[in-house]
Symmetry: C2
Subunit: 201 residues, 2 copies
């Protein structure tokens, strides 16, 4: 069986949120599974010397318009910018990483719930208690999830995930790696589709 | 008749080069024409505080791979990075802007020839004599084209084009504006296609 495709994302990334709604179906269409890998764009942007899209003159205004338009274009419904943006995403990322060790399917459901909470329900998932409460909706023990946020082992695991991502060239969100071929952005999903169908082009 | 769609580009932009091969057909499919508008990314990046893609850590390496892959994906053949990149594009932009006043169809042919010279034939079109020689291939008087590069009226016209572009929110290349709706990047051509077909979504 072919290896899973790697789906890197940050929970505060609008295009990451949109991509999260499409990646599993795209992979499944080609008989592939997805490894959901939360990372921290803040740490990554420090390495690349770049800034969040919305903080860049002109590009910022355009991006907000494009988030919503891209959501409509891809049939993903209305998109609203969260009032607080961007946010630190350590809490959500650590909970999902911790869960992956126990139950990968549940970790993916929790990841989707985190995105939905932040981008649809206006819940500030940078708050560890709020993030743990989202995990609880998917049957996770909230006290254990809350403890994972401060667990040095989990913290270290996320740090290593980010370092590994940087070492593989990940500089944005969403970022997909298919058999060592890197694809940045929701707007490369058409190329990923053809790549998976043809084995490369 | 509907207004032309605005196609902003810089002659040193790889995605601009790829987009230049598709924009006329995309517009024509929907009964629209294209206003080819060369701008200067150097001046624009000063306003936005951004850097050329290829100068950004990680993103730079990825971009070079993606230029070539996107060329193949869109059926535009092999793509090679010019040995000197990026280059100042004032000479080519001024010649095309000057030509537009006389013969818009020829200006577009010269614009395509400039892109081809730089990205396929390894000709350094930042050199005014080289740029004038490219224009001559399309029947333009090379001495007149060469003179346009240093003509204060043409220089000023290009400066105003860049200022107008910035005022409309143009921050990259290619950048297309369809009836006031802005689209950045070759990877928005699918959205432009639907926008032109449906009048917006």
């Amino acid at each position: 069986m072919a290896a899973p495709i790697d789906f890197y994302f940050d929970f505060s990334s609008p295009y990451g949120y949109l991509a999260a709604q499409k990646i599993d179906a795209l992979a499944a269409k080609h008989g592939r599974t997805v490894n959901w890998r939360p990372v921290l764009l803040g740490a990554i942007f420090k390495e690349t010397g770049t800034a969040p899209l919305t903080a860049i003159p002109l590009k910022g205004e355009y991006s907000k318009r494009d988030f919503a338009r891209s959501a409509r274009f891809h049939g993903l419904g209305e998109f609203r910018m969260p009032p607080r943006f961007p946010i630190p995403t350590q809490a959500a990322a650590r909970i999902v990483l911790w869960l992956k060790e126990q139950d990968r399917a549940r970790a993916v459901r929790v990841a989707k719930a985190m995105f939905h909470a932040y981008f649809v329900d206006d819940i500030d998932i940078s708050n560890p208690d709020a993030a743990a409460a989202i995990a609880a909706r998917e049957g996770v023990d909230p006290a254990a999830a809350r403890a994972a946020v401060d667990d040095p082992v989990v913290k270290d695991a996320l740090k290593r995930e980010v370092e590994k991502a940087l070492a593989r060239g990940v500089f944005g969100s969403p970022f997909v790696i298919v058999d060592d071929e890197p694809f940045w952005g929701l707007d490369r999903f058409d190329q990923i589709d053809r790549w998976l169908a043809s084995g490369g082009f």
